[in-house]
């Protein structure tokens, strides 16, 4: 089995799902002939044709609206945001039309909305966003944000087969940086299940997406200092895998949450609330967090480096936590 990147894994998932089920169609800006801004859909047009790989105008509202309409007739559209930042342009379609459809009138919307997200590639304030929490706050949606190639493929397949609208965030810093062996066979990774990436007993580090990679690197550093951190990759933010979180906190008694999204209203706050509700007396220390700053993602590399969580920041916070 050769190693493939996360980007290639996503492409494989799209190919395999479109091959498996002709109800799967894709639409978005420049995804057809050009193959997508990041080439995630390269080759799909040649194989599946313009009826299934639809180049759209620059109209995010039309993309999401049309995908929703298609899903009402039993199709399973996969819509792409060229950059996830542009999801703000179709916020109304996603949060009011799509998310509320099943609750209001029992009409499921089996669509996927995917797109490159996150910072670290000097994209500046409009090409680096992590807007996942707007949607985690929207009942009716599912929100997935993988950190490995294996998970990306398995979760995208699950998302396409899910009867609910799934927002599939792809961290663009990881697109070509994480590589691993990914089975050519059909497999899925369940939505709503976190995974323990590294076992430990001194503290739990919860994270997802690129920050999960940072957390793992930090755990390696910490291990050399005698701190054994348990690293959990959430993978899905909505619905949140509460069992895995609580079980780990009960085991390690210390919790550090790491995410790239901005601090205020980030998922760390929600997790802290859940842990306080369900495992308060298991805690030996205050819950700590390392997050993006409460600013837009800045453009200059010197500024962006301060904005993002880093191995040093995570390790420093973990050392403080270990003192309790």
């Amino acid at each position: 089995m050769p190693e493939i990147t996360m980007l290639e894994a996503i492409r494989e998932a799209l190919f395999e799902e479109m091959e498996r089920d002709p109800a799967v169609v894709t639409l978005g800006e420049d995804i057809g002939v050009y193959g997508g801004a990041f080439k995630a859909t390269e080759g799909l047009f040649a194989k599946f044709g313009p009826e299934r790989v639809i180049d759209t105008p620059i109209s995010e509202t039309a993309i999401v609206g049309a995908a929703c309409g298609m899903s009402y007739l039993g199709l399973r559209p996969v819509a792409e945001m060229q950059f996830i930042d542009f999801i703000a342009c179709c916020f109304n379609q996603v949060t009011n039309f799509v998310a509320k459809s099943h609750y209001r009138w029992g009409a499921p919307v089996p669509m996927v909305l995917r797109g490159p997200s996150g910072g670290g590639v000097h994209g500046g304030p409009f090409h680096s966003a992590n807007p996942e929490m707007y949607f985690v706050h929207t009942p009716g949606l599912k929100v997935v944000y993988p950190s490995t190639a294996y998970d990306a493929k398995g979760l995208l397949k699950s998302a396409i087969r899910d009867n609910n609208p799934v927002l599939f965030f792809e961290h663009k810093f990881l697109y070509r940086r994480v590589k691993e062996e990914v089975p050519k066979t059909d497999y899925t990774v369940p939505i709503g299940k976190a995974v323990v990436r590294r076992e430990g007993r001194h503290m739990t580090i919860l994270s997802y997406a690129a920050a999960a990679v940072t957390a793992l690197d930090a755990a390696t550093v910490l291990a050399k200092e005698g701190i054994e951190a348990e690293v959990i990759d959430l993978r899905t933010l909505l619905p949140l895998d509460r069992e895995t979180i609580i079980a780990s906190v009960k085991k390690t008694n210390r919790l550090l949450v790491v995410h790239e999204d901005t601090r205020t209203g980030g998922i760390a706050g929600e997790i802290a609330a859940i842990v306080c509700e369900q495992a308060f007396f298991d805690l030996d220390a205050p819950i700590a967090r390392v997050t993006g700053l409460d600013t837009p993602v800045p453009y200059a590399p010197t500024l962006e480096a301060v904005f993002l969580p880093s191995v040093e920041k995570v390790a420093a916070a973990a050392r403080e936590l270990a003192k309790y």
């Binding site: 299934r52 109209s59 298609m70 379609q93 099943h102 209001r104 009409a107 009867n163």
Partner: protein, 452 residues
């Protein structure tokens, strides 16, 4: 207008229009009895549009109503009880009380998509419905409505443009009822005809008398057939008038009385009744028979709704997600082989027919045309704001700034305003009853520019 409809069908048009009107009349009464949970949005005077357009659709076709399209829901097969229970938030309503008004639909049998309150959003959604229907080989047409106000939303333009690039079998009915809540169409759109919106997207459009049900039907039928033959999308502008306020709470005193008087003479049901009589399609006995049937049906359904229970609190968290409650399967009407490799293989390159070069204006064309045949309408020149206009003279009537949600009917507001007026010398009292109403716009609408 000559029609292809049989006498039976023509009487059915009357039945649906009258059913629509009587149903809404009862909703208004229920609203006054405090039995309606939310609002009632009247389509009085617009029944010919809801009924005439949707009557042109076949059962396999899809529609998505707007708030004033109860008539279309009835034509497509929903019953008055669905409308009653929805407004009364009953457990027996199509949404089990989770949403109100005409916010409901049916994917499997009736092919109706539920609207949301945000205007314009249905246009891209129904474009997607039309595209999916074509992809599956179902030969369906999708239809939705939008008001004059909603035609200014981004979703309207994104959706119509996308539908046009896709040649989607999609009919968009623009119901120009002259008012977007309190704002007249002249203050919303710098166009005489909203049909001209279509021109910008290379979309065919028609304009029809929205109070003539047969004209609406024939125009819609032709549009639906065009779309089914692959020549969509088509936009139909139906000119009409909103005869009530935005909703029941709104007395609509901003509408000039003369305007309402004029449109009263254009009432679609009265006109159609006259047509049916003059053409001997019915007689008094037949009319009574239909009217009695409507009464009977509405009596039964209203009773059902009033006696229905409210939803039990325990269902509040049900149904946020589909957890296996639905089986999702597309209805294929063409071989799947056609859309799977190798038949679906395509050349991954574009064919560009012309190279987008600049074409000079042909001599003799109007000077308002420019570049590549782009057209624009001559518009009145704007008067630049001047200081004299910005600062009204003492004693001049100052247009009142009405706080949101507070109108002339609000007694506390009137009192406050009067007190204020007493304190402020030179400022006139809030006009009561006369003079102000019926003249909502100043003579020079642009005179206050720069003051906002």
């Amino acid at each position: 207008m000559p029609t292809r409809l049989t006498h039976e069908q023509q009487l059915e048009l009357y039945y649906f229009m009258q059913l629509n009107r009587q149903l809404e009349d009862r909703l208004v009464r229920l609203f006054r009895q405090n039995k309606i949970v939310g609002g009632v949005y009247s389509s009085l005077g617009q029944e010919a549009i809801s009924v005439g357009t949707s009557y042109a659709l076949e059962p396999r076709d899809w529609l998505a109503p707007m708030i004033r399209n109860i008539g279309a829901l009835l034509v497509k097969g929903f019953k008055p009880r669905d409308i009653f229970t929805q407004h009364m938030a009953k457990y027996t309503s199509p949404t089990h009380g989770k949403d109100g008004t005409s916010h409901f639909g049916d994917l499997k049998k009736l092919h109706v998509v539920s609207p949301i309150s945000m205007l314009g959003d249905l246009i891209p959604v129904m474009t997607g419905v039309a595209m999916a229907g074509r992809y599956l080989g179902q030969k369906i047409v999708a239809m939705t409505w939008i008001g004059d106000g909603g035609s200014s939303t981004g979703a309207f333009h994104e959706g119509l443009n996308f539908a046009a690039t896709q040649s989607a079998p999609f009919v968009l009915v623009v119901e120009n009822n002259q008012w977007a809540y309190s704002t007249p169409v002249s203050r919303q759109v710098p166009l005489k005809n909203l049909a001209n919106r279509a021109k910008a997207y290379g979309v065919e459009s028609r304009i029809v008398d929205g109070n003539d049900v047969l004209a609406v039907y024939e125009t819609s039928k032709a549009a639906v057939e065009e779309c089914r033959a692959g020549r969509g999308p088509i936009l139909i502008e139906a000119k009409t008038m909103r005869m009530k306020g935005h909703a029941q709470h709104d007395p609509a005193e901003y509408v000039p009385k003369e305007m309402l008087e004029y449109w009263k003479t254009q009432d679609p049901i009265a006109r159609y009744e006259k047509y049916l009589t003059e053409n001997k399609i019915w007689d008094a006995a037949k009319k009574s028979e239909i009217d009695a049937r409507i009464e009977r049906e509405l009596d039964a359904d209203q009773k059902f709704a009033e006696e229905s229970p409210m939803p039990p609190p325990e269902i509040v968290e049900h149904g946020v997600y589909c957890e296996g409650c639905h089986t999702i399967e597309a209805e294929w009407r063409r071989p799947k082989k056609e859309v799977t490799p190798p038949l679906s293989n395509a050349q991954s390159s574009w064919v560009v027919s012309d190279f987008g070069n600049f074409a000079p204006i042909k001599p003799g064309k109007e000077s308002t045309e420019g570049g590549n045949g782009a057209e624009s309408q001559p518009r009145p020149a704007l008067k630049p704001p001047s200081d004299a206009e910005a600062k009204p003279e003492a004693g001049a009537e100052v247009p009142l700034r009405v706080p949101f949600g507070r109108g002339p009917k609000d007694k506390a507001f009137v009192r406050e305003t009067q007190e204020q007026a007493k304190e402020t010398r030179g400022r006139k009292q809030f006009p009561k009853g006369h003079g102000h109403h019926g003249k909502p716009f100043p003579k020079e609408p642009h005179g206050k520019r720069g003051k906002r």
